[in-house]
Symmetry: C2
Subunit: 417 residues, 2 copies
């Protein structure tokens, strides 16, 4: 009931709007009866590349990430479309654990560079998913896409306290590679970059490990590098109705090429882990509003207990402080807004000042960032007591189109049509 | 037979020398009957922290690495010794999958910072090994160790073509953390850094994945980021006699505190992967002197076939070129010198020039770098045709003392005694 309430609040849907959602759902039902939740049975197995939605969003979060942002360097639309077709063909092979091209390392001829770089030969598919997104900058005047830019792909506002580094922010196109083996994820991105030589160049890339959210109830909640369970309240693939409300772009949302897609926000969040590690346990728990060991909200016993934001302690003060992270981020205090997060921990060596360069590479999918990530993050940026220990240094916003229908489909087909 | 020959050549041992090795072996036999090869039965299990040698050297190479180099910031020898004791106690707990301290996240009191940072709570031991090494700079006049510097810990010469970055080279103390779960390796290093606050600071650190060598015949040979099998001819834990000759420091080698230890060389080797990926398969194979698919030496069928360096092709030229990597690095062309390598692939994002910042973090253990790494690398640096595609950007040399005998022992005990 509160889910339905929150959808209406968030997306401004009255009865008529809800009916439109229904109609949209009917329109796509011919393709896929129910939201496709294809995922690997074991960590070695392949994940299906085809479906109503792209794999790598609700797919149970794999343990490793290689994320890349590309700048398009060609100014020819036809070359870009050709690249999308080549990438899609390679991706469909890679997620099956095959070489990137049919003319690969094994069976290649000596005179030509191989169609595959070889470092994943002999490794299984490892649950690899490749998820593509288009950044706002792609919708400028280079490729005639300005009229196709979704309203929901509005530039993110400047958030208080962020210290974004332009060189590792934004980009025209991103690919999120997730797998259970980092060598498989790295191999996939590296081969896409190789195929794209002369048409795109790597703007930035990020490795991650130790998924910091669960996207399925079958997964235990993992821990971030502050040592706390992260993503307890995450949207999960089993929340089919919530996903329809808050994750997938509906036919009535527009533009048509995004129906069945989702918007991704990426934020590289550096953690001041050395400072954090010298903070008392009580202070750490007060900042999160949760117990560090079990992950229970303050005053509760178990991780999945509902936080009681009204509860007061013996001193008459709120058990969960007003500036605690769980209070500020919780859907019940944000008009029902939720996100499907699938971020990763990172350690990029050290920073030259005697500290580990470590933190969270935040990834969140949603139906409309203007109603979900932006207001929630604006609130956090203004008042979250966690801000003393974190710094946002990179930002990305991406329109991720729907899934591949069949082998004739390609990344961005409806966008470029 | 050739193994015995090569030992004599390498270490200048005549019959008398060989007898001395025998005596040394007898002297340590009371401790451990045979070289201890304790390793985990499954990738979740712990590896023993105790033994004649440190774990993490012949231990079957785990899949993930977090390597850290520390500068000692205290000038008090007693504080350094105290830190070694604290670190050893923490390491002994960490490798069992326990929290770093007894007063950790779970059961900690609110007023104090926890003894453990928490991000590995609930994760198994994951085969974690922690291996300590002491760099040449530790043996200056700060701690009264100048007289204890091993002759074998001689500064590495400058190699042709290397472009070392001082900020990510050297250091007073290193710790190599290897595990099957990167979160476990990162957690261990981070807690050692936390414990060392005020006494040491992180000089540089490096994450790695996809071990690029096998250290046991039970492991398949993995591939480096050039797509070739790497470490086919590596020293392996089953080569007990070869390890005695080429890996472990003998009692006659001196100094006494290094008996049962080994010397580690680390080199961060950036690969120009984009250039490599545009090189023909034939050229790639000629550079390595091996087939890319199977890993067989040129002219042979299988990976472990012995290379025939005399074989010529129909054109009268050597099948394995004179500047091929396998020829220049092979023990038969280096007076029998061998290494136990256990390096890792790395991708540190991108380099700002549209390229992946990727390569190999090379780690090699040996009995005496002056007779093993240095001459082999000098030859490679001068003539290896691979040099066009690689660049050495970081270097480290470390004296790794013998293993922990029991719970009363600590890292560097014999050095500081």
């Amino acid at each position: 009931m509160s889910d339905r309430m929150s959808r209406r609040k968030l997306f401004g849907l009255g009865a008529a709007g809800a009916a439109a959602v229904g109609a949209g759902a009917v329109a796509t039902r011919a393709l896929v009866e129910e939201p496709t939740v294809a995922h690997a049975a074991s960590i070695s197995d392949p994940v299906s590349f085809y479906g109503e939605h792209q794999a790598g969003i609700v797919t149970p979060a794999q343990d490793r990430l290689h994320f890349v942002s590309f700048d398009v360097t060609t100014d020819k639309r036809a070359e870009l479309v050709e690249l999308m077709q080549e990438w899609t063909a390679a991706a469909a092979r890679l997620v099956q654990g095959k070489e990137a091209g049919t003319f690969g390392t094994v069976g290649g001829v000596p005179e030509a560079a191989p169609d595959d770089t070889g470092e994943a030969l002999g490794l299984p598919a490892s649950g690899l998913t490749l998820t593509i997104g288009f950044g706002p900058s792609l919708f400028d005047d280079r490729f005639g896409l300005a009229g196709k830019r979704p309203a929901a792909l509005a530039d993110l506002p400047k958030f208080p306290g962020e210290q974004l580094i332009p060189e590792i922010s934004g980009g025209d196109i991103c690919v999120q590679a997730c797998a259970h083996d980092p060598q498989v994820a790295v191999h996939a991105i590296r081969n896409l970059a190789r195929i794209g030589f002369g048409k795109v160049s790597v703007r930035w890339s990020q490795l991650g490990f130790g998924r910091t959210s669960s996207t399925s109830r079958a997964q235990a909640t993992p821990r971030n590098l502050m040592g706390f369970k992260d993503g307890t309240n995450n949207l999960k693939l089993e929340d089919v109705e919530l996903l329809r409300q808050q994750l997938w772009v509906g036919a009535q949302d527009g533009p048509a090429w995004m129906t069945g897609g989702s918007y991704m926000v990426t934020r590289k969040i550096r953690m001041m882990v050395e400072t954090w590690d010298r903070t008392s346990l009580g202070e750490q728990e007060a900042i999160f509003g949760r117990d560090k060991g079990v992950g229970a909200p303050m005053g509760k016993k178990a991780e999945f207990d509902t936080p009681d934001f009204a509860a007061k302690g013996g001193d008459g003060l709120p058990l969960i402080k007003n500036d605690a992270h769980v209070r500020l981020a919780h859907p019940t205090t944000n008009g029902g807004a939720r996100l499907l997060r699938r971020g990763y921990n990172f350690v990029d060596g050290s920073d030259g000042l005697g500290r580990l360069d470590a933190g969270l590479f935040f990834i969140a999918y949603q139906r409309d960032p203007r109603k979900q990530f932006v207001p929630v993050q604006m609130r956090l940026a203004k008042t979250d007591s966690l801000n003393e220990y974190i710094k946002h240094i990179s930002s990305g916003l991406w329109a991720c189109p729907p899934g591949m229908r069949d082998a004739g489909d390609y990344w961005g087909r409806a966008l470029f049509a």
